[in-house]
């Protein structure tokens, strides 16, 4: 054999080697991007935890903010924790029943055309920026009635509604038709089938969706800026007046030049992140449990 023949045989090998090299390179890039995402999360959580931990103490959790506090007086954010609880509670009370009803209509009653119109509207609503929703509620309620926890809760409810409705639509669609047919077959009317047979099957999934939505809106600042931000001093729980909330407190404290305020902002951020993590993990756990339950029921 001559040398020329051998080089012809080797050329494909070179190309194969290059293809494998490109493949390796791209796989490495994908690994690195995933590592970068985890790194970013780690850095954010670590900075919040490290700076927040030192300011996190009993006073922080039990004492309220003061308007003109002398520097040696201990302040906390108890008012903000209570306020967030109330405002998010109001939002949940408004958005949850409304969202479930929408999902029932879309999944159990609506003709196909209306179904797609409603779900498109939900998508559009979910895409409206939170700051615009806050400004909308400002124009709708605040201009005529002033700021209040109700107005803030309503703004958060608008944000929650598409989340709750969408997750409920998803779990309702998981319920097998055989269950509906069985209930209708033994003579149950449609509404009893829906409320008594279909909905109880999905209760875990509905709760999961609601919990995730609560975790999402509990951290929202933008809808509250124009609706529930001009907070009076002292702790009060009257929802017809604006109440301080955790995200808003972080926003205001982070703008302050005082290092002590920054420390409290970090501590509030730590509490907020921990709350959201615990709630989302609980929701995930509920979700896997309920999915298993639906799967068993459909067998």
């Amino acid at each position: 054999m001559s040398a020329a023949d051998l080089s012809v045989l080797q050329r494909p090998n070179d190309r194969l080697r290059r293809r494998r090299l490109v493949n390796r390179g791209m796989e490495l890039v994908a690994w690195l991007t995933a590592a970068l995402a985890v790194l970013i999360l780690g850095v954010v959580v670590f900075s919040v935890a490290r700076r927040g931990w030192s300011a996190l103490n009993l006073d922080f959790l039990t004492k309220s903010q003061l308007q003109f506090a002398p520097p040696n007086v201990k302040q906390g954010l108890a008012n903000a924790f209570i306020g967030t609880f109330i405002v998010v509670g109001i939002a949940t009370l408004m958005a949850l029943p409304f969202g479930i009803l929408i999902a029932i209509y879309v999944n159990e009653y609506a003709p196909k055309a209306i179904r797609s119109v409603v779900s498109l509207t939900l998508d559009v609503l979910a895409g409206v920026p939170a700051i615009v929703i806050g400004f909308f509620v400002f124009g709708l309620i605040v201009i005529s009635h002033g700021q209040s926890a109700y107005a803030g809760g309503f703004a958060l409810a608008v944000l929650m509604l598409p989340l709750v409705a969408r997750s409920t639509i998803e779990v309702l669609a998981l319920v097998p038709d055989s269950l509906r047919e069985a209930a209708l077959g033994v003579g149950a009317p449609r509404w009893r089938t829906t409320l008594g047979v279909v909905l109880p099957q999905t209760i875990g999934g509905v709760l999961t969706g609601a919990t995730l939505a609560v975790a999402r809106v509990a951290g929202e600042t933008a809808p509250l800026l124009f609706t529930c931000s001009l907070v009076a001093t002292g702790t009060h729980v009257d929802p017809s007046k604006p109440l301080q909330t955790v995200p808003l407190a972080i926003y205001q404290l982070s703008d302050s030049p005082e290092p002590a305020d920054h420390a409290r902002a970090w501590a509030a951020a730590l509490v907020l992140i921990l709350f959201i993590l615990v709630v989302s993990l609980t929701a995930r756990w509920l979700a896997t449990r309920s999915r298993r339950k639906i799967a068993q029921a459909s067998r």
Partner: protein
Amino acid sequence: MTSLDATTDVARRPFTGRRVRLGDLLLQGIAGIAALGTLVLVGLIAWKIIQGARLSISTFGISFVWHVAWDPVHGDFGAGSFLFGTMVTSFCALLIATPIALGIALFLSELAPRGIRGPVTALVETLAAIPSVVIGLWGLLVLAPVLRDHVDPALHSTLGFVPLFGKASYGSNVFTAIVVLTIMILPIIASISRELFLSVPGELKEGALGLGTTRWEMIRGVVFPYARGGVAAAMILGLGRAIGEAIAVALVIGSFTGISGNLFAPGNTLAAWIAQQYAGLSTPLATSSLMYMALILLVFSIIVNLVAQFIVRRAARRQGLSR
């Protein structure tokens, strides 16, 4: 007596009796009203924002959108500089976030060993769950000083001949906002793309691998074309999120009204400017001009979502046909 009559009456009727229908009518009616309420709510949002913006619309007309001014003393307002800032920050963030997000999605759908796939997916979703005010706080107090002292000067000294990378003096600037927005839209694009990549039929992938392609060639030749429409929709949704983000950007972008080509100078965006004005609504015209800016944001967000939905539906239909 009458109630007893009623019950026996019902028992005698066939089960399509009127009381049964009443329950159905009630539930269907209430649920239908709730569904209608969604449409009404979206309409109400648009109407209230337009109504609030009317004064500004009649004063400045359409040129408000590109007019560069914010002067409450002389009553001269325009959204130009904010619109410019919104465009620059959100498009740059999308440009940086998309390749990284696709890498993450590929890792999670194709490459990750079974044991770390679940945890990393959960971590990426956790990144999406961190509130924007916390990201903003971190961006302002941790990221901005680091960028100001190390990254900005380095970029200026190596790429300074490009006017984009001008001299850096503040930590709160457009570049910091871009980085923060990138972090916020990264998990959104990544998790949608991951689901798309997972939905690529296994036989297509195996077919390509069986023909002797490497994994990357399979991804380029099968996974990417299959998921192309969906990835475009994911990018558009990420863009929508970046355009609408107010709090995190308001904290890190500084506050500057005017147009500057320098990424390391303070700037502003539509959403961030609205957020920064919450305590200082001065004149009716200023409030109305903010409403006008909210209207621009609303129009953007509706267009973005409709386009994304259109792409998703078209892609779903095409996939349905090809199967």
